[in-house]
């Protein structure tokens, strides 16, 4: 209760009260700044009850989504299938495949030789979760993790599959999950964007699959809700930096004059939009300080750097981005979306995945434990996973040491941590071939529904009316997986 009222006040009081003094026009402008700003659309004018958010007390206030782009192989990381080692080289029985459609990359193969993992698996923690030796740090934190072994999707190619995960639709045009959260729940802070994006390139297959900026796009929502990319380098947010040679003092003075002249315009033309613009300039000015402050890791003590690994000192790496993600949620950024590229192991899987795993293992585990030690994990949801899994048979030639795996939509593994999910818990099961789900399937829309539920949103009620239709992140399906929730 306290939190929600604080949430409201944080977002509104300041502008609300400030603008009261400016009269009715000013008040209208103030409302443009609040998280409910988008209410002034075709949506709530017709149905005012549409956006009473959150619908119920949320378990998580913030999300860090660690997207592993390319489709990490569940069979090398978490889904232990000794049968595949026993049957290595034998053809995938048709009874198992059961007509599953194949991508154009392996549909031409006349054989589908099964292949088990080259990497050793073991059980860890009190939860006895299976993890391969590619992920030694993750193995140490399994008691914080909630594994879903039974993820499944409909898409078998990267572009539609990743778009599906991010927007609930395989075709482009809908808002990203972070945009939905920004629209529905608003900002928790006054100095940083609500929805931020961090990119890193894997070392396993540095150039494999591209990303598209529409993945963090606002779709048909207001562009106020688009993800803001934070980049390594001098200008972490596009156009953030003042021109060379301009002092902060001069920038402040310039803004004061801009405001003064704009207020004069407002007095003459009476357009409330002008007040809104003045406020946006002030937010921009604050961002010029708060963004570099967020990016500056100089104040991080040595033990924290050690915890995330030395890569965390190298801007633009996954480890550095994990550390930044923690700094962002500390500053109450609502939704942090990371992407780590390079998980598309069609060939040379063993050597590539070793590097990919090394990129992310230590920092992922560190992020979770760091959030925990700061008390942030309880209301921050961490999500780890890719857009689909990989086949249990080899793509291309299977040799003694080498193999590859094609895309597999029917089952793959993800995990979550914190934010109201069960720690030390594994959900769902695949068959001994690691090809089909035998227990508790979780569809992409189910995952989205569950994440929204944790954020206090009933995914069936949270809609945006666009071109006459009420759209949802989960389209027309999706069920909350209650078993995952504490």
């Amino acid at each position: 209760m306290e939190e929600i009222s604080k949430h409201f006040l944080n977002n509104n009081r300041r502008h609300f009260l400030k603008k009261m003094g400016l009269g009715i026009g000013g008040l209208a402008a103030a409302s443009l700044l609040d998280p409910f700003s988008s209410l002034a659309t075709e949506n709530t004018a017709i149905n005012p009850s549409a956006l009473n958010l959150p619908h119920f007390a949320p378990k998580a206030k913030r999300v860090i989504y660690l997207f592993q782009s390319g489709g990490p192989s569940q069979l090398e990381l978490f889904d232990y299938k000794p049968l595949l080692n026993k049957m290595r080289g034998q053809d995938l029985p048709e009874s198992v495949r059961n007509g599953q459609r194949l991508t154009g990359m392996t549909s031409g193969q006349d054989k589908f030789p099964l292949v088990g993992s080259n990497f050793k698996f073991d059980q860890y923690g009190e939860s006895r979760a299976w993890v391969s030796n590619l992920m030694p740090y993750t193995a140490k934190v399994v008691d914080e993790l909630c594994f879903i072994k039974s993820m499944n999707t409909e898409a078998i190619n990267h572009d539609p599959a990743i778009t599906f995960f991010q927007t609930g639709s395989q075709q482009a045009g809908r808002p990203s999950m972070g945009s939905w959260m920004s629209y529905g729940l608003g900002s928790l802070n006054e100095n940083l964007p609500t929805f931020t994006v961090l990119l890193s390139r894997g070392t396993g297959r540095p150039f494999s699959q591209p990303l598209y900026s529409r993945l963090w796009g606002n779709g048909f929502l207001s562009s106020l809700h688009q993800g803001v990319q934070f980049r390594s380098g001098k200008d972490p947010v596009l156009y953030l930096k003042d021109p060379d040679g301009m002092s902060r003092n001069d920038r402040r003075q310039m803004l004061d004059y801009i405001n003064k002249l704009n207020e004069k315009q407002e007095a003459e033309f009476g357009d409330p939009e002008i007040n809104s613009r003045i406020a946006q300039y002030e937010m921009a000015y604050r961002m010029q300080t708060s963004v570099p402050d967020t990016m500056n890791i100089e104040d991080e003590p040595e033990h924290i750097i050690q915890m995330y690994g030395m890569d965390s000192l190298v801007p633009g790496t996954y480890a550095a981005n994990c550390l930044l993600a923690r700094r962002m949620v500390e500053r109450d950024v609502r939704f942090v979306q990371l992407y780590h590229m390079g998980w598309d192991q069609h060939f040379n899987l063993p050597s590539q995945i070793e590097k990919q795993a090394k990129d992310i293992d230590q920092a992922t585990a560190a992020l979770i434990m760091d959030l925990k030690q700061r008390g942030l994990l309880e209301d921050t949801l961490v999500v780890w996973g890719g857009e689909f899994g990989r086949t249990n048979y080899s793509q291309g030639v299977l040799t003694d040491t080498d193999y590859g795996r094609d895309h597999h939509p029917k089952c793959f593994t993800m995990f979550m941590a914190g934010g109201g999910v069960k720690p030390g818990f594994t959900y769902g099961e695949t068959d001994d071939f690691g090809y089909n789900i035998v227990k508790d399937p979780v569809h992409v829309h189910d995952l989205q529904a569950t994440i929204m539920h944790l954020m206090g949103i009933d995914h069936t009620k949270f809609t945006y009316k666009h071109q006459g239709r009420r759209f949802r992140l989960t389209d027309v399906s999706g069920h909350v997986v209650n078993d995952l929730i504490t």
Binding site: F8, T41, N47, P210, L240, G270, R469
Partner: protein, 787 residues
């Protein structure tokens, strides 16, 4: 659940709801409701209503006469059609409210029970259902997440009480050209538009605003018609021209200028989802710019709208088609195309055909046909079968779903200097390019059959269908050829109720900021209703009668007194009409993303006015393409130098997966799909672009330095000159004084700064101060407002 929990839940809800409602109420009172206006006062002056209701967030008066189209249908459509609408498969209890027969029919087996009994509220099941207190039987049902406000319930009841007069959906009835309405002040009227606008203002008890100052008016009309600002001498000439037709001369000049075609093309590129890349995955480059040049030329030569569309839809099918006409069909090849390894060819080919069908229907007749892809339309009377019948027009191409890297998708045409010379003189083919291949339409797969696709899936064909159109708009009679050319004829048939309305509405949106139908992409049941229905119809019929003459129609709009009003608004007027629906003033419309950059280039003197040619790559922050690429295709953005870095923004290279970032910040669409209306937002990221975009800083520096070069000017003269170039007016005394003060501050600040402002190109404190001052003026609200 325990009591305590219950209680805390309540308190919690209240904490949230009370301030929320307060905001909403205040919002309503001041009426920030721009996107959703529905005229509730048709045929009713609103002063003698019987009831004042507080319903949810609205305080509404029940109209004296409840109108089916304006009051009842929007409720039925939005809250009831999901289960009682056109889609038979999800229809409940056999009851439908989208047709008159259905709405008045007996309920199922109960021959004595009816949803609606004319004049008899008590016997009407609809009324008892919506007022039911039983959560099991109330309508809409609880699990639909839909509900009715008290106001809406009373509207439905009152409509029945008043006789339940049924009318067909307004946009499916032919537009009628009614005689011009009476107005209180004929002197104010300049042309037909003003009769309709003033008549409505009279009804609302509002009076038009005074005329805008000349310098404001000329600025606005320059941006609206050419997308560029007037020069100081343009302004002077206009101010000094005291002839009665001074303004008309300006308008004629603008309509005749080549920049007109660029401005109009810039909007059409959104509709046509034009881009310079294929859009999926590795997002490879494509060459479609010759089509873009065709569009610019078509606007400039004032190709009538019917030809403009006909050529783009079916130019290839016109008997003895010219190359010009064939090139126009590139319109429907602007959709995205994938090269991703492993995709299933047919899945994507189907996707492209759908894109063409969806784009065509949205752009030309304002219907969201794509909603009938997977099932019958939920709101409009369009069946899934009709959707695929419409789709079949676009399903005859010999094309691939997946293309290879570096493959130019077929069908296409080759353009060499010979073709340019002989048939396409408007194409700006650089000497360095010997030939380009541009995608066009061609029906080569005559034997391909079209089927209804179950749930829209490419591999689930059902019943075979043949080219046809939605009956509700106009049946596709045998007189039309069963191909795209026939479809084009159908669009422009005199009986087609939508085509003319949709286009004049979009033209109105270009000029006035918001369409007469604010949902310019949706003229169906869920779309907004026209704010001035009779004006819309008058314009639509006139447009057709005048031979679809676009320039003439634009001229009429900008010549009206309505257009020429000031954008100043009094608190009273703001309260009476916050969204400016009634147009008792001009709206303060913001420059588009393209205009913001073009304005800076133009006023600084950097703009290169060259028309057409391959897309260009002006400055963008380094690294954006590199960060996301897979290493294939366009991996690195290599910025153009020289004249191509200062071309108008509609020529900026459009990579769909990484579109130009500053344009995206200013609400440009991604060009993934057809878009007929841009968002209008105000965000902190926009402020950052305006303050720091090196292109804008460069323009500021260039303008500052040039101003300093002119001899014999005082600081005050210079400030006035810069201010006027950017805002089209002179600063007043206070503004000049403030800017003088800032100039002095900036000079002093230079001493403390690193003295390398803009990479050392600014060498003196005076240059620094003037550059900063110019940047300040670019950042004024007025600098990004048309007028």
């Amino acid at each position: 659940m325990t009591d305590k929990k219950n209680k805390s839940k309540w308190v919690l809800a209240l904490y949230f709801i009370i301030p929320f409602i307060t905001v909403i109420l205040v919002k309503y009172i001041i009426g920030i409701n721009k996107d959703s206006y529905q005229p509730l006062m048709v045929g009713n002056k609103g002063h003698d209503s019987e009831k004042v209701e507080v319903a949810g967030n609205k305080i509404l008066k029940l109209p004296d006469t409840v109108d089916f189209i304006f009051h009842v249908k929007p409720i039925l459509s939005d809250r009831c059609y999901l289960c009682h609408g056109p889609d038979e498969k999800t229809r409940e209890a056999g009851l439908r409210f989208d047709t008159k027969e259905g709405a008045f029919a007996a309920l199922g087996k109960h021959l004595d029970r009816y949803a609606i009994v004319t004049g008899d509220v008590k016997s009407s099941m609809l009324v008892s259902k919506i007022n039911s207190t039983d959560p099991e039987t109330v309508m809409p049902p609880k699990n639909s997440n839909l509900s009715l406000t008290d106001y809406e319930k009373q509207i439905l009841a009152k409509w029945i009480e008043q006789g339940a007069v049924w009318k067909d959906h307004w946009s499916f009835i032919s537009p009628q050209k009614k005689s011009l309405p009476k107005v209180s002040n004929p002197k104010w009227v300049r042309n037909e538009i003003d009769y309709f606008i003033l008549n409505r203002l009279d009804q609302e008890g509002l009076i038009p605003s005074e005329k805008a100052k000349k310098e404001k008016l000329i600025r606005k009309v320059y941006f609206d018609l050419t997308g560029l600002p007037p020069t100081p001498s343009d302004i002077d000439n206009f101010i000094n021209d005291t002839n009665a037709n001074a303004y008309e001369k300006v308008v004629d000049k603008l309509l005749a200028s080549p920049a007109y075609g660029e401005r109009m093309a810039s909007s059409w590129l959104d509709v046509a989802r034009y881009a310079d890349t294929h859009g999926y995955q590795d997002d490879l480059e494509r060459v479609m710019w010759p089509w873009r040049d065709w569009v610019i030329n078509a606007f400039n030569r004032n190709l009538p709208y019917d030809q403009f569309i006909k050529w783009q839809l079916a130019g290839d099918l016109i008997p003895n088609a010219t190359l010009d006409q064939v090139l126009a069909t590139g319109f429907n090849r602007n959709h995205k195309i994938t090269q991703e390894g492993g995709v299933i060819d047919e899945e994507y080919r189907v996707e492209y055909v759908m894109d063409r069908a969806n784009t065509t229907s949205k752009a030309i007749i304002g219907l969201t046909m794509e909603c009938a892809r997977c099932h019958d339309h939920k709101y409009d009377p369009i069946s899934q079968k009709e959707y695929y019948s419409f789709y079949s027009f676009f399903n005859k191409l010999e094309e691939k779903g997946r293309i290879e890297y570096n493959e130019i998708p077929k069908p296409n045409i080759k353009i060499t200097p010979k073709e340019v010379h002989e048939a396409l003189p408007f194409i700006n083919l650089p000497d360095s390019i010997n030939e380009v291949e541009v995608m066009v339409m061609k029906d080569e797969a005559q034997n391909r059959k079209t089927y209804v696709l179950k749930r829209g899936q490419y591999d689930a064909p059902q019943e075979e269908v043949f080219p046809s159109t939605p009956k509700v708009v106009l049946p596709f009679s045998d007189s039309f050829p069963k191909n795209r050319l026939g479809l084009a004829d159908w669009f422009f048939s005199e009986k087609n109720t939508l085509t003319a309305r949709v286009e004049v509405n979009r033209m109105w949106q270009h000029i006035f900021g918001v369409g007469i139908v604010s949902t310019s992409s949706d003229f169906g049941s869920q779309g907004a209703l026209p704010s001035h229905p009779e004006l819309l119809d008058w314009l639509a019929v006139t447009f057709r009668e005048e031979g679809w003459d676009m320039k003439k129609m634009y001229k009429r709009m900008v010549m009206s007194s309505t257009y020429q009003q000031t954008s100043k608004v009094t608190p009273e007027l703001l309260e009476a009409d916050p969204g400016n629906v009634f147009l008792a003033r001009s709206s303060r419309n913001k420059l588009s993303a393209e205009m913001i950059r073009d304005n800076a280039l133009a006023v600084s003197g950097l703009l290169n006015n060259k028309i057409g040619g391959p897309s260009v790559k002006p400055y963008q922050p380094p690294g954006l393409w590199e960060e996301t690429t897979s290493g294939q295709g366009l991996t690195k953005y290599i910025q153009d130098t020289g004249e191509n870095s200062h071309r108008r923004s509609l020529y900026t290279f459009w990579k769909r997966t990484v579109p130009p970032p500053s344009m995206m910040t200013f609400d440009a669409p991604t060009r993934d799909l057809c878009e007929v209306k841009r968002q209008k937002t105000s965000t902190p990221l926009q402020a950052l672009v305006m303050l720091n975009d090196p292109q804008l800083i460069e323009a500021a520096e260039y303008l500052a330095k040039n101003t300093l070069k002119a001899e014999g000017l005082s600081d005050e003269d210079r400030i006035k000159s810069i201010f006027r170039k950017i805002t089209s007016r002179f600063p007043d005394e206070t503004e000049t004084k403030e800017l003088m003060k800032y100039l002095e501050n900036a000079e002093n600040n230079f001493e403390t700064s690193k003295k390398n402002y803009i990479k050392s190109k600014v060498t003196s404190k005076v240059e620094y101060a003037y550059t900063a001052l110019t940047s300040l003026i670019f950042n004024l609200d007025e600098a990004i407002i048309k007028g």
